[in-house]
Amino acid sequence: MSAILIVEQVLNGLQFGVMLFLMAAGLTLIFGVMGLINLAHGSLYMIGAFIAATVAGLTGSFLLAVVAAMAAGAMAGALIEMTVIRRLYHTDHLDQVLATFALILIFSEGTRALFGSFPLYLDTPALLSGPVTLPGGIEYPRYRLALIAAGLAVALGLWLLIAKTRIGIQIRAGENDREMIAALGVDIRTLYTFVFALGAALAGLAGALVGAIQSVQVGMGEPVLILAFVVIVIGGIGSIKGAFVGALIVGLTDTLGGVFLPELFKLFMEPASATQIGASLSSMAIYLLMAAVLIWRPTGLFGVRT
């Protein structure tokens, strides 16, 4: 167990965490403002990845691919908001779960029908490929470092948007009292569509960025979606800060658990069964963590206590 391995795994955990944040931020924003639970968020992530892979394949430009993925995410988001989601704001969570589950079925099978079942691949851009040497002689992939930077930049931008701009004030006001801000002359329908499209664009961005280190395939959004749910449950639903902290906790726990739990068990068990038990336990670690957080604080770390 070397220091280099630890630093590498912490960076991997951070990278995973900030990507989860991109997903969780949209989910938590949509829930906070519109009170909607959106299972189809993973489909928007998948759409982002497929569009990025297609555009990169056609034009060869990674930047263009990322921009297209965000635009496609936002457009798909705005489209489903105006056709389906809008009708669900006043219904109970059960209807929201089912309708968005239906959207997943439609999006997943639609993508399979268009692109086939074989995974697509998205190359990392030439500028960002290869390793970079960190202080202390640690070699780390340049692209993953760029992902961490991009994630942090988006987090900062989102915070500025929510805290400092006029639209951010409207979003925060909408979370607190939707009748009041509607009465003050804010077009609440447009605001909702904007928030949904914003969340969708972030999901599309995450899909495009992660698409370069994973294969792009149907169903890729669902594991991420469920992890993003765990993130916002830990962080407190509706809280962007909670989503950020929760995402880093989940990213680090999942990555470090997978590496270090088997090592930990090897200290006092035979290697074969230590690997086995460590692997099982690490795959469950974040859910155990979530259960622990909920016993301690049933509305999450930064959630509003009722």
Partner: protein
Amino acid sequence: MTREGYVNSALVAALIGVPLWAHVAGEPFTITLATRAVIFALAAVGLNLALGLGGLVSLGHAVFFGIGGYAMGILAYHAQIYSPMFPDTLAIEGTKSMPVIWLVAILCSALAAFVIGLLSLRTTGVYFIMITLAFGQMFYYFTISWSAYGGEDGLSIYIRNSFPGLNTLVPIQFYALCFALLGGALWLSARIARSPFGLMLNASRQVPHRVETVGLNGQRAKLLAFVISGAITGLAGALFADLNRFVSPTMFSWHMSGEIMIFVILGGVARLFGPVAGAVLFVAMEHVLGDLSDYWHIYLGAVLLGIVLFARGGVIGLLAGQAKGHD
């Protein structure tokens, strides 16, 4: 008889008549389809207790379905390889006897439902949905990494388990068993819905604070409903495993949870026969649309979306008119 009564009777008549016809006509595949529908219906009757009566939107009922499946898989696997579980300490023998397997499936899934319910019921609304979903994923990933019982590949059982006095390898006999169990579960749900416990549960779904005010413990009722619900779904899981003679982690996947919920909603929430109608319709659509197109899930999604947005009482609601009791 009410219109809903006629719809229910027609459904029961079809569930008896179609397999009998298929048996006489020598169409075992139709019987298998009917068995699949009846088992799904049983799982959904379980969920309907928690969802319809208790208002507990559980997106993790695949946990109980999977536990039932693995209870069957593990017991039958040990009987199949003639080697007990925990050979050094407890030396539990495997078994091929359905009643024993069912009992184990019910007990294990009830226990899991108790623990999951105890933790999840601390939360409400959207937290509850997400937590039950996350528990489902936890079991899913656990079974994937559980290589002793096949890991991701699952477990195959070569011969269907036995039931005293019946030959379960004959499709119609296995169907009759599943149908009888579904009947039992429906009878139990009808009894529960009319019992003081069911009324309290119904009341605490609608106005929890009033139930607390008159001195009843609504939380405890919800937990009990969740446990009974999990146990019934667990039994369905054991039957499903026996139908396919195969268990795998996909029984725990969240798509399974979503599908069990779809059965309930397609048929109509909080209606006694809603889950049955939903499961029958689902299997029929799976079969008919699956033949038409590889991408039949698109149509399923469209139908589901239509029902959620425009026909909130489900199929029974469409056929029998006004919903009762569902808000």
